[in-house]
Assembly symmetry: C2
Homo-oligomer: 350 residues x 2
């Protein structure tokens, strides 16, 4: 796969939403924006991670904030490109490649928007292999790449640069800027060289998303889409049921809450509870944890195989819940310290 065209966007969005584990924003928003950008600027070349020159200037771009807000306050194409441009200007080096910082609905697509607008190639990779809710929770953090300087743009034309002493301060300062700019912004951050990108990004994520999206579409005609996806991700189906309750609140810029799913068929008599903070974090079956962050907990529509984000999950949804292993680097002690259950305030055993 050498370039992304408008025809790929549906599958890219569909697959990214699965890896987004409920977070990363509504893929529909991201798709609309990417569609408009590709219509205007043409296809985006994809660069494989191992083809990236050592001295490439890689600038990732992402939406920051509450997906619940992004649903109502659409970003503009210019806002996305401007975040990359502002960071390049501040660093004194313009981007040569755009990267995806997380695999998730809107944030798999914002880099496509930036790449199209700026006429740059997109790297076929991402910084997590999934989505996470906080800015410092990316694999480049583990090799010492700094989140800042970070640029932040809003849809009104304001922008900010945050230069923090560490990635936790970067998260704090960028988050409060985002809340103040209306709870949904575009950020460019974790600027890195080609060799740093090769050493820290998850290889092949963009193509994987497109492939997962195609699996879902084609499986609709035959075997259960969830099984096809689980097989591709070396994961397993852990629960089938109906959503009976969702408690959701937007606090400190996050969509936090808990969903309760009552079992159907072979899972009848059981109940699965999923706690989320933008992303699905912990799944408990009848009170016992069956999967925890950093592993992927994916909630799919039971009929269509489409991923359901935490902000669209609601009473009555028939769902299949999959669990799949995270990139092995997330299971190292540094990885767990950064994004394991305890990083989210849970005292579970991993």
């Amino acid at each position: 796969m050498r370039e992304l065209t408008a025809d790929d966007l549906g599958d890219l969005a569909r697959g990214a939403a699965i890896l987004g584990t409920g977070g990363g924003g509504d893929p529909y928003i991201g798709r609309l924006l990417a569609q408009a950008a590709l219509d205007k600027y043409g296809p985006v070349p994809l660069t494989a991670l191992d083809e990236l020159p050592d001295d490439a200037e890689v600038l990732p771009v992402a939406m920051m904030g509450a997906p619940t807000v992004a649903l109502e306050k659409l970003p503009s194409i210019e806002q996305v490109g401007n975040a990359v441009r502002a960071l390049g200007e501040y660093r004194g080096k313009a981007a040569t490649h755009i990267a995806c910082i997380e695999a998730g609905g809107i944030n798999s697509l914002t880099p496509v928007v930036a790449a199209a607008q700026l006429g740059l190639p997109l790297i076929d990779a991402d910084g997590m292999g999934r989505a996470f809710p906080e800015l410092q929770m990316v694999l480049p953090t583990l090799i010492g790449v700094q989140a800042t300087p970070t640029s932040i743009t809003d849809e009104k034309g304001n922008h900010q640069i945050v230069a923090a002493i560490d990635n936790h301060w970067a998260e704090r300062l960028a988050r409060s800027a985002t809340v103040d700019m209306g709870c949904s912004t575009m950020v460019s951050l974790y600027g890195m060289t080609g060799s740093e990108a090769r050493a820290s990004l998850v290889d092949g994520t963009v193509s994987l998303c497109v492939e997962l999206g195609r699996l879902v579409t084609s499986a609709r005609n035959g075997t259960a889409p969830a099984d096809a996806v689980a097989a591709r991700l070396d994961g397993r189906r852990v629960f089938d049921g109906k959503v009976v309750d969702v408690a959701r609140r937007t606090e400190q810029g996050f969509a936090r809450g808990e969903a309760i799913i009552e079992g159907l068929d072979h899972d009848a008599q059981s109940r699965l509870t999923i706690a989320f903070q933008n992303e699905n974090l912990i799944a408990r079956r009848d009170g016992v944890a069956v999967a925890t962050v950093p592993d992927l907990i994916c909630v799919l529509d039971r009929d269509t195989g489409e991923a359901i984000t935490t902000e669209t999950l609601r009473y009555g949804h028939r769902v299949t819940v999959l669990v799949a292993p995270a990139d092995p680097r997330w299971h190292t002690s540094d990885g767990l310290a950064l994004a394991g259950p305890q990083a989210f305030g849970y005292e579970l055993e991993q």
Copy 2:
């Protein structure tokens, strides 16, 4: 007066506190910081406003936040210089001159700190002729100078650049960054050319502060210091009394509240109420407004003539209240819209 030495700092702080109309931070904090900077780096040359070259690169610097917090969390000399340096780097032009954005305790002295540390001259002027609580409330706003890009530094080493679409957004974004960075930061903003500085700053403020400080010190031996100050500022003494109540709260990064003063001597039987938001905004005698922002309402210690800031005002203080006219540009319709009573939510007639 061609340079500021350590010997001038006491009078500068004393005079600035008077023009600060209760705000601008505790002069003691500013004086400690400036003393340390001059001890380390030597005297600071003063440049008269009319000697400033057209193409001078003027960077003002100030403390932003709640003075109540600055009292407990001292800034460092480096934090002040770094704010100027960060803005110069972002603008791609290093400062040639430092300016004072407001006449007020700490903020008449932070520019001295920056000038000493960076080895640059300080302009004998300021941006208000007094102190005001919000970032956009400066005379350069009236001629279209933009507050941003604004740099913001904290004592930990974090910094941010805010590039806003207008000065109200600059205030909002810089304020929330300040709150997040611990409610007291150093900012450099309103970068301007020499000709813009000449067209918008208030001439001679630094020397005036030193002169007012000397008046207070020398008047202690004879006539009431308050009368000497009032005469120099073309103002008048409006009340003598004892503080009987102060309601003060720190909210949204400001020290807000109200002081009640019971009259003494010729003012016995009367009561003066002063509403403040960092600075004194409205003085009401027995319920009737006798002075309102933008004019200067200065609360002085009745015995020593020293100004009392809103964060140190307390029960039992014997005070003399002076009123003096603001720079005439504050009384134009644009000036009043920016910093008149209605800009603070009051419906008074001016």
